[in-house]
Symmetry: C2
Subunit: 205 residues, 2 copies
DNA sequence: ACCTGAACACCGTTCAAGT
DNA sequence: ACCTGAACACCGTTCAAGT
């Protein structure tokens, strides 16, 4: 059998299977994905351009589900907070995706929309143009770093010798994902405070 | 010739060659590194445990050079600022290293020391134990994200459709590494402000 | 002690051949 | 139109053989 009467593959089917495989924690790649789909690796190239394109499809799939459209008339800090929380929920729900998308360029429309929404909220609030992308990037780095931390909460640092405080702090309760959650809340509160203070300065000047 | 009279390989030689190869931007791996060293891939395994160990050696090499010991009696915010600036200089000087070390566990002694120094500065300043690791992590994520941004400053987002503000902001001058530098300065100033404000709250309570 | 050759189980991608 | 087989140029790692 070379070609079934009804197509067994589409970009959507590939994206879904990719997300499932990534979430499983098993090694991810074109060959492994083809195996999971019961198909030979070259077949995928009839529907997607290659590994990077598949990863971008996965990003799009997640963005569609998690980065929903926000009300345009909400206060800027509500928009910012909602977006970061949605982004972090996306990452913590699919932690194995984080390392794959962390270093690639974002082209997916819904993901771009989410960043555009945050950028627009900051522009409308009164932040100067020259700062907005920086702030969007800072917030994104925080959400992403927080996602990486959630995926491997106690594995970021492994001191092998004596330390003044780091080793002791790593032993403190709570551990793991609970600590990662608390870390996220503290970091988010700090960033929002800093943003509000900075906006004050701009509006006063 | 199976074994030369004088060893051609040591862990240091491998680490240096690895850094040089990574910095060149060419594909990095055990095989490519062996080729660069004029040696067969299995030879490396007499000196290092594998690819991950080589990457950790590179981290150590950079930490030795950039994350120098700081005076223990400096004000906490000077320590924090110096460490972040040193870390960012390390990443911007070796941008291709960033994606390789971003997702791996830190075990190198000098790198651990740097984090321990920051943690201790925050503890001594009066931040509660429960927050210190979070803050160290937030600062680290910022430095790392800033390094990633410097490596590919205009490639983080590529909108293909229309956007309210994102596309316009991406076109603004300055571009590239200059913007990345400005972004770093703004982000750093914001984080230090937020840290000082948070410490105030803790000391007042 | 340490480098090599051979081997293993993988990768991502291209392309002509098949239906 | 779309799946396959064969092929290519790679990976990282193990291990017996060589000096």
């Amino acid at each position: 059998m070379a070609r079934p009467h009804r197509a067994v593959l589409t970009a959507e089917i590939i994206a879904d299977a990719a997300l499932t495989l990534i979430d499983s924690g098993e090694p991810f790649g074109v060959n492994a994905l083809a195996r999971a789909l019961g198909v030979k690796p070259p077949s995928l190239y009839n529907h997607v351009q290659g590994l990077e394109a598949i990863i971008e499809l996965v990003r799009g799939r997640l963005a569609d589900r998690y980065l929903v459209e926000l009300p345009a008339d909400a206060p800027w800090d509500v928009t910012v907070e909602s977006t970061i929380r949605a982004e972090r929920l996306m990452y913590t729900s699919h932690p194995h995706v984080v390392p794959l998308i962390a270093t690639s360029t974002v082209t997916d429309q819904q993901a771009i929309n989410a960043y555009d929404t945050t950028a627009s909220a900051l522009v409308d609030a009164g932040f100067p143009d020259s700062e907005v992308l920086v702030l969007v990037q800072l917030l994104d780095a925080f959400a992403l770093g927080s996602g990486l931390d959630y995926a491997a909460p106690d594995a970021v640092w492994r001191p092998e010798g004596k330390t003044r405080n780091l080793g002791r702090l790593l032993e403190l309760e709570p551990r793991g994902k609970v600590r990662s959650d608390q870390a996220f809340e503290i970091g988010l509160a700090m960033l929002l405070t800093a943003l509000r203070a900075r906006l004050e300065e701009h509006l006063r000047a």
